[in-house]
């Protein structure tokens, strides 16, 4: 890899041993992908994937401490993924004991480390840092050092920023030296689509299901999707962005997609159209039957597949303000229709602290509360990642949560029916 004099000096230890090791990490990481150079990070803020003070991850906090002890800080302020615990979310005595006394015992310590390293503010905990209410929204063409998979795919695809699917720790190391290796999704060539996807469904496909189908088919490749604007329009308004947020998270978690193009909608597709499609791109056609097949093949890992759900999570990734309002309208209407006043299953809708704050200022918040549903800033994934919750029958409309935990996936309509019509 060709380094500038400044980069070479850092690597040679002229700015200290710790910074040299950070630079060595990035150079070796880039070498694995034949990166020819390091390029400057140009986004205003970074976003980190590691938000949890999990006891088992002690080596991560030791490494962070080494960095702090060397007097090194992030060159950018950053937001970070959601917190793993929230008292608002139902948990029994044993779960609380496990969360607070066994699993997340490093949470306060780690949050103190994050503050010293450059955390934007005490509320900057969300996987949807790009929401206006959070304020970490990169510009088109910005080079990022992010790692959260759902945020990376959104930033690349919907915002037109440039970021690889980095791992945790690599994200902060980019910010520390101010550079990332130039390869993959940072390059024009790496942003070309090697799959053409044609959506031929009879109605608007469920975002999380369509994303899942595409992710499992193309894995880490870049898809160019035709036919979706028939259903979600050709403007990136609130509804389209929320759809693409959920769609992208599913492509990234059910596969390893870091970038997609939607014909006639996403910025690069609007500018370059079919020029974005690489020669020899493979084709995948998605119709109603294909989506039904994909959903039917999800494994059910509950001990008793007919168990009554004990909890429902909506919002992985975190919901937008508009989604919170829409869910409120839908839950209210469905309860009215079924003659019930409260949701039949404890239901948690998750969003960024800033989004929840904005939501609380609207009349809709009280209406949602009246249905018995709860709002939270929690990371549902972190809540579920332990043997106690693994045994709980939890339902969700998130295909990401389904992929990484024992939660069972249902479409938005199915979830709505389950929580408002008796919990079956």
């Amino acid at each position: 890899m060709l380094l500038t004099k400044e980069q070479e000096a850092i690597l040679n230890g002229e700015k200290g041993e710790t910074l040299a090791k950070v630079m060595k990490t990035l150079v070796m990481y880039g070498d694995a992908f034949e990166a020819e150079k390091l390029v400057p990070i140009t986004s205003q803020y970074n976003h980190l994937v590691t938000s949890f003070g999990l006891k088992v991850m002690s080596p991560v906090y030791d490494l962070m401490q080494t960095i702090l002890d060397a007097g090194v800080a992030s060159g950018q302020k950053f937001s970070v993924d959601p917190r793993p615990i929230d008292k608002n979310v139902p948990a029994n005595f044993l779960q609380n004991l496990v969360f607070n006394k066994f699993m997340y015992t490093k949470q306060s310590f780690y949050e103190e480390q994050l503050e010293k390293l450059g955390l934007l503010d005490k509320n900057a905990f969300s996987c949807t840092c790009y929401m206006d209410e959070v304020g970490n929204k990169p510009k088109k063409g910005d080079v990022l050092s992010w790692a959260e998979s759902s945020a990376v795919v959104y930033a690349n695809s919907v915002l037109g920023a440039r970021c690889n699917r980095n791992s945790g720790i690599i994200d902060i190391m980019g910010s520390i030296v101010g550079y990332v290796p130039y390869f993959g999704l940072l390059t024009d060539e790496g942003r070309k689509a090697t799959w053409i996807v044609r959506v031929k469904t009879t109605k608007k496909p469920e975002a999380q299901l369509l994303g899942s189908a595409i992710g499992m088919k193309v894995m880490e490749d870049v898809p160019y999707v035709y036919g979706l604007t028939d259903f979600i329009g050709n403007e990136l308004d609130d509804a389209a962005c929320a759809y693409l947020k959920d769609f992208g998270a599913a492509t990234a978690s059910n596969g390893a997609v870091g970038l997609y193009h939607i014909d006639g909608l996403t910025p690069e597709a609007k500018e370059q159209g079919e020029a974005l499609i690489a020669e020899g791109a493979k084709e995948y056609i998605i119709d109603d039957a294909e989506l039904a097949r994909v959903q039917a093949e999800y494994p059910v890992v509950w001990k008793n597949p007919d168990a009554k759900p004990k909890l429902c999570f909506i919002g992985c990734p975190h919901l937008s303000l508009e989604q919170l309002k829409t869910w409120t309208d839908n839950i209210e209407a469905a309860l009215k229709e079924s003659g019930a006043s409260k949701v039949a299953i404890p239901t948690v809708l998750t969003a960024a602290p800033g989004v929840l704050e904005a939501f609380e200022k609207t009349d809709t918040a009280a209406r949602l509360k009246a249905t018995g549903a709860i709002t939270s800033y929690i990371c549902p994934l972190m809540y579920m990642n332990n043997p106690l919750c693994k045994k709980m029958p939890v339902i969700t409309s998130s295909n990401k949560l389904r992929t990484y935990t024992s939660a069972r996936y249902y479409t938005d309509a199915e979830i709505l029916a389950a929580i408002t019509k008796g919990g079956k």
């Binding site: 090791k21 990481y29 694995a32 088992v56 991560v60 490494l63 699917r165 791992s167 880490e220 990484y404």
Partner: protein, 147 residues
């Protein structure tokens, strides 16, 4: 005995018994429970991977096409190494992915006293040939002997 030549991501010499997955290796799902709850054998916890689920990973030659799943994957691998609960080596049939590369590099640069050779680009034939229990010898130049 059959020899394969790969590309060195992180170097080292090691001999170990193979465990093989022909599907993507989900690092978080595979290691999380074992690391968290002190499983000495570090049995694979990924219920979506029938080839590996329940099999010990510590000290084994992990043969795989690529890693998949959460972008915490790299730091999970780093933690496994720092806690001395890592595979003996990781051998990729194809090009290494960004998460595994991050984990391998972080362990190499930041963990003292642990060597986990990581070799990629061994070819599809490697993954078709190698089976659980075979003896694997990895050399510093990226040569992998399977017997």
């Amino acid at each position: 005995m059959k020899k394969f030549q790969g590309r060195v991501i992180t170097p080292g010499n090691v001999t170990a018994e193979a465990v093989v997955t022909t599907q993507g290796f989900n690092t978080l799902a595979s290691f999380q429970m074992a690391l968290q709850f002190g499983d000495k054998q570090v049995k694979c916890g990924d219920q979506n991977n029938a080839e590996l689920h329940g099999k010990p990973l510590i000290g084994k030659a992990l043969c795989l096409p690529q890693t998949i799943g959460s972008t915490t994957g790299g730091l999970v691998l780093y933690c496994a190494c720092a806690m001395h609960k890592n595979p003996a080596c990781m051998l990729f049939s194809g090009h290494i992915d960004s998460l595994a590369a991050a984990g391998a590099v972080l362990a190499d640069v930041w963990v003292d006293g642990v060597t986990m050779p990581v070799i990629d680009s061994l070819g599809d034939e490697f993954l078709a040939y190698v089976k659980d229990g075979m003896k694997i010898t990895v050399k510093e130049d990226g040569t992998v002997e399977v017997e």
